[in-house]
Symmetry: C2
Subunit: 314 residues, 2 copies
Amino acid sequence: MSAIALGIHGGCGVMPREEMDEAGWAAARVDLARALRAGWGVLRGGGSAVSAVEAAVMVMEDSPHFNAGRGAALNIDGEPMLDAAIMDGATLAAGAVSAVGRTRNPVRLARALMDAGESVMLTGPAADRFAETHGLPVVDPDWFITDRQRAALARMKARRAAGATATEAEKHGTVGAVALDADGHLAAATSTGGFTNKPAGRVGDSPIIGAGTYARDGACAASGTGAGEFFIRHVVGHEIASRMRYLGEDVATAASRIVFEDLAPYRIGAGLVAIDGAGCVVTPYNTAGMFRGWITAEGRMHVATHDEVFVVEA
Amino acid sequence: MSAIALGIHGGCGVMPREEMDEAGWAAARVDLARALRAGWGVLRGGGSAVSAVEAAVMVMEDSPHFNAGRGAALNIDGEPMLDAAIMDGATLAAGAVSAVGRTRNPVRLARALMDAGESVMLTGPAADRFAETHGLPVVDPDWFITDRQRAALARMKARRAAGATATEAEKHGTVGAVALDADGHLAAATSTGGFTNKPAGRVGDSPIIGAGTYARDGACAASGTGAGEFFIRHVVGHEIASRMRYLGEDVATAASRIVFEDLAPYRIGAGLVAIDGAGCVVTPYNTAGMFRGWITAEGRMHVATHDEVFVVEA
């Protein structure tokens, strides 16, 4: 029996405190805690790391507080276009989907694709059709759209029309989870709407195995959030694993190296959650805040949006 | 001034000799030589590695002999659905496209996307629209379809209907190029139609930066061909670079390790072309044949489909 552990993120960004009242931040923390409990329940019941990260991410997809599933950022055409991936560190099996428009929980679709064992990645309407034929809930695209994201798109388009560019605060947000199960296996999952006003057809790092999502027993599981293009170019998840495997770095050193050194020259927002085979969870980020949470073997649950970390009942 | 060098592949597979008469194999070698000359002309003129790999891959996309661009394998719906990527080892800039259906040269689209400097990856009809708005030639999907690929799809569907699964010979084929330019920079590009009768929406490793396409100065450039799902799961291109950077392996050792050890347990077809900063080109493959070619600093050109390597006029 291995120790079990779980870590999640709900996106990083400038996240000005005045953007929401304290009740808003508290509500987001409540949903982070719900996501942790969902994954933790799986792990405590002897379930797999894969099922735990899927369960945790599904809660954040269904919550309107995060940029994934319901509440996802809208693209330039006003549409939700969702990306997600999941990876099993025990087998290196993986599932990934991009440009999903109707599947309620893209991470479940990624999981179903992985379990089917043929394609690793599907894109576009065919991915939604795969969900339908595999009995997963599909919804009208309006289901994903919240007033907050509609307003964010309108603000962004107005500012673009006035010649301004997107702020970092508007560009980020993604959800993800990493877990270590009682059999000692690692897994990672990530789900996102990308960023507000993103180009039609744009795919970020979340569904790119090795970049925004990666898991390998004996090294780490990792899920990223931030300016995805740079996570793709730096193959972030696999880079952390490689530094651990080949340079003998620990997960904190390898993850910090990427976020605070490799990605620093680009002056972009970046964060991630990573876990190693001993259940050590790290959540480095270079922005003002990152929605995040973790539970370690002794069962103590932590959630945070900015500097302060809240310990809550697991 | 650095030495210049160029390597290409046109896909690996069982490639039974009796599938084509000797004239057919010779015709494919002629187009491999044309692709090499196109890239070599760029390098000799002082052009960048990025432009060289783009030029070489474009020749193979336009040739009906390879599974990319014109002559690409058709998916289960009888459609060409093309993936491609390009990466600049000097800057780690990259461009990647998946599920392209109308852009004549997907590698040019990937290059235009990289040069635009915003999204790294676009998918689906939006990628074709990007090509149109950037002045790249778009064609009717019929332009890509050859009698040979139509017949291959019919054969495959007939065999599936009879309960048989695809042979390795039918599953492979992709084109790619790697180059070292006079300024010492590396680049890689890959383009593919996937495999005959592939699921709608399936994306392989070719457009996944770090998997089927990767380049980093100081390490290597690599382009893969084979059962793409396993290249994604093993993050093949970035794995070669990591072994070179962190374990000090040379490109031949690192590339062979992936093809003959890491991927061996899956019993899948796999091949790749890789190059290091000294211009050493390697082309490991575990199948009966791989379309391939290379030119090294002294200007001698080699092309091959099976064991024999032909030296031809550069």
